[in-house]
């Protein structure tokens, strides 16, 4: 039996029945990473010794009869979530050698659940990108076609899950960075409600939009990961006090009578790939056959979401990234003869071009004379986008539609054209602006054999409904069981 082909749920059963140990499971993944990751290039750092120590601890817990859904389960972590003693680079030269002195709250929670951390995975530098090409270190390949991008910014997480280089992963989503790579790599990805998961120890990109979430091979696995990482955290004053529901226990409920909204404006979007439109259309038919009621809804300000986002996110980013000054941690440029000179040379040599572009944009939007025209205006439009969702959710329980307008594109296709790259996020970005949860679940393939994801969006804290519908859809269709051929 090849243990790396299991889901978290199957591995959990095997560990519980003592068919294999966490050490055996972890070794299988370390060997597969050794054999295969030179092709995929998902991992920036692998920690075999630490992983095996954690696996041994998990095996002891299991022997004592203490086993939860993540006990002994090998995972990967996007390299912008702080891991004490393990390098956390944000795929940036400016943090290339940064070793955090503390753990993010989600990492503490994974440790508490006796999960196993295999290593840290690639991303667009500081999560700014939709292709993982903006990593300062390496380009991650899509396991379904090695000449295509895996999506981004959590491209390392999605590729590692799709290539069976881990059983699940934690990523982050600021404008689609979990859902879009999940869609492009044919895995399940969930961006929780803003505040559902603590951001303490998540390196900040845009603080009012960022959210940590899981990527995994199935909906059950995704629910298991969310169950462990969700909840209020006194260390994050923006984390929500709402109690955490039983995500797993809710999965098998029937979806008969649930009202599913189809967004009129999404259908009118130019540049939609016909294979994506066909797969999403077929998914809607499947959900109808399962008893869901389809409702036509409108999000009138859809056409302004990307514009609003590309003011707000860079504005927040330029403030957050002001801390990288070469003083307390991270890269410092040599040869500066004054403090000001050191700031400038450090930041110019340490940040990649996309990050510099967004810092410049954000600084411009916040600068004297432009604040009202850009930042304030974009924040007002954000209110309109939020109100659109509130209005839509009066008429339906959730929305379904595409995740991205096209399947994964070839490496290098949009690298010189930032605006075209930004338009990739057109269906995902509004969820971050409104703070609502969103999910991608595999719903088909393009003619070229690239995976396509179905997006589910719901009101604040509606993760149980999203997971329930995704689970029913997954059971009915089984797309998640189709694997990339990588030999």
């Amino acid at each position: 039996m090849d243990l790396t082909q299991l889901t978290i749920r199957e591995a959990h059963e095997g560990l519980k029945q003592k068919t294999f140990s966490s050490v055996e499971l972890t070794r299988a993944f370390l060997e597969r990473i050794d054999a295969l990751d030179s092709k995929i290039r998902a991992y920036l750092t692998v920690v075999p010794e630490l992983a095996l120590q954690q696996a041994e601890a998990a095996d002891r817990a299991i022997l004592e009869g203490r086993i939860g859904p993540l006990t002994g389960i090998p995972l990967s972590i996007k390299d912008l979530i702080c891991t004490q003693g393990i390098r956390t680079s944000c795929a940036s030269k400016i943090l290339e050698h940064f070793v955090p002195p503390y753990n993010a709250t989600v990492i503490e929670k994974l440790h508490g659940a006796h999960a196993v951390i295999l290593g840290k995975v690639n991303m667009d530098e500081f999560a700014m990108g939709s292709s993982t090409e903006h990593s300062a270190f390496q380009v991650t390949r899509n396991p379904w076609n090695l000449s295509c991008i895996p999506g981004g910014s959590s491209g390392g997480s999605a590729a590692a899950v799709a290539a069976d280089l881990c059983l699940g992963s934690l990523g982050s989503d600021t404008g689609g960075s979990i859902r879009q790579p999940a869609s492009h790599c044919g895995v399940v990805g969930l961006k929780p409600t803003y505040g559902r998961v603590s951001r303490y120890g998540l390196v900040a990109f845009a603080s009012s939009l960022d959210q940590i979430g899981p990527l995994a091979k199935s909906v059950w696995d995704t629910a298991a990961l969310l169950s462990v990482i969700a909840g209020h955290d006194p260390k994050d004053s923006t984390s929500a006090p709402e109690p955490v529901p039983d995500y797993i226990g809710n999965l098998d409920r029937d979806i008969k009578g649930l009202r599913i909204g189809i967004v009129r404006e999404y259908g009118a979007e130019k540049g939609m790939d016909p294979d994506v439109a066909a797969s999403v259309g077929a998914a809607v038919e499947t959900l109808t056959a399962l008893g869901a009621v389809i409702v036509d809804v409108s999000l009138p300000h859809t056409a302004y979401a990307v514009q609003s986002y590309y003011v707000i996110a860079p504005a927040e980013a330029c403030s957050n990234l002001a801390r990288y000054d070469g003083v307390k941690y991270g890269f410092r440029a040599d040869g500066a003869d004054s403090l000001m000179d050191m700031y400038r040379t450090t930041r110019s040599q340490g940040f990649g071009k996309e990050v510099q572009r967004r810092i410049l944009l954000g600084t411009f939007a916040l600068s004297s004379g432009y604040y009202d025209a850009y930042y304030r205006k974009a924040s007002q439009v954000r209110t309109l986008i939020r109100n659109d969702f509130i209005e839509a959710f009066r008429r339906c329980d959730l929305l379904v539609g595409p995740v991205a307008p096209t399947p994964a594109f070839p490496i290098g296709a949009h690298i010189g054209d930032p605006l075209t790259m930004y338009l990739n996020d057109i269906f995902t970005i509004s969820a971050n602006l409104a703070g609502i949860p969103g999910m991608s679940v595999p719903c088909g393939f393009s003619k070229e054999g690239l995976p396509i994801g179905l997006q589910l969006l719901g009101p604040h804290f509606s993760e149980p409904i999203l997971l329930q519908v995704a689970n029913r859809f997954e059971k009915e269709t089984g797309f998640h069981r189709i694997k990339p051929k990588m030999e």
């Binding site: 940064f98 002195p101 307390k328």
Partner: protein, 95 residues
């Protein structure tokens, strides 16, 4: 809109970035493209609309002022690019 090199250089100065000559023209062009696109927001009348800066109804969060664990000096300095006598070291500030 078009963005002059002077504007890009001014913004770069505010952001503490040092741009090469080639970068200035590329950034000016790319930023102008993006800002042209962003300017579509002006098609919407937002008079009287409150801006959204934060999506959840959470305001000032307080906690008791009780001592808790903190980083030891050595941990805090462990990632420092340069240090001396338990302090972060930077280039000379006042000549």
């Amino acid at each position: 809109m078009s963005l002059t090199s002077e504007t890009v250089l001014h913004v770069a100065q505010l952001a503490r970035l040092e741009l090469g000559d080639g970068d200035i023209s590329t950034f000016a062009r790319q930023m102008a493209d993006i800002l042209d696109y962003v300017d579509q927001l002006n098609r919407l009348d937002t008079t009287g609309i409150e801006p959204t800066f934060h999506v959840l109804p959470i305001t000032n969060v307080f906690r008791d002022d009780t001592p808790a664990s903190h980083l030891e000096r050595e941990q805090a300095l462990a990632n420092a690019p340069d240090r001396d006598e338990g302090c972060f070291l930077v280039p000379i500030v006042v000549g």
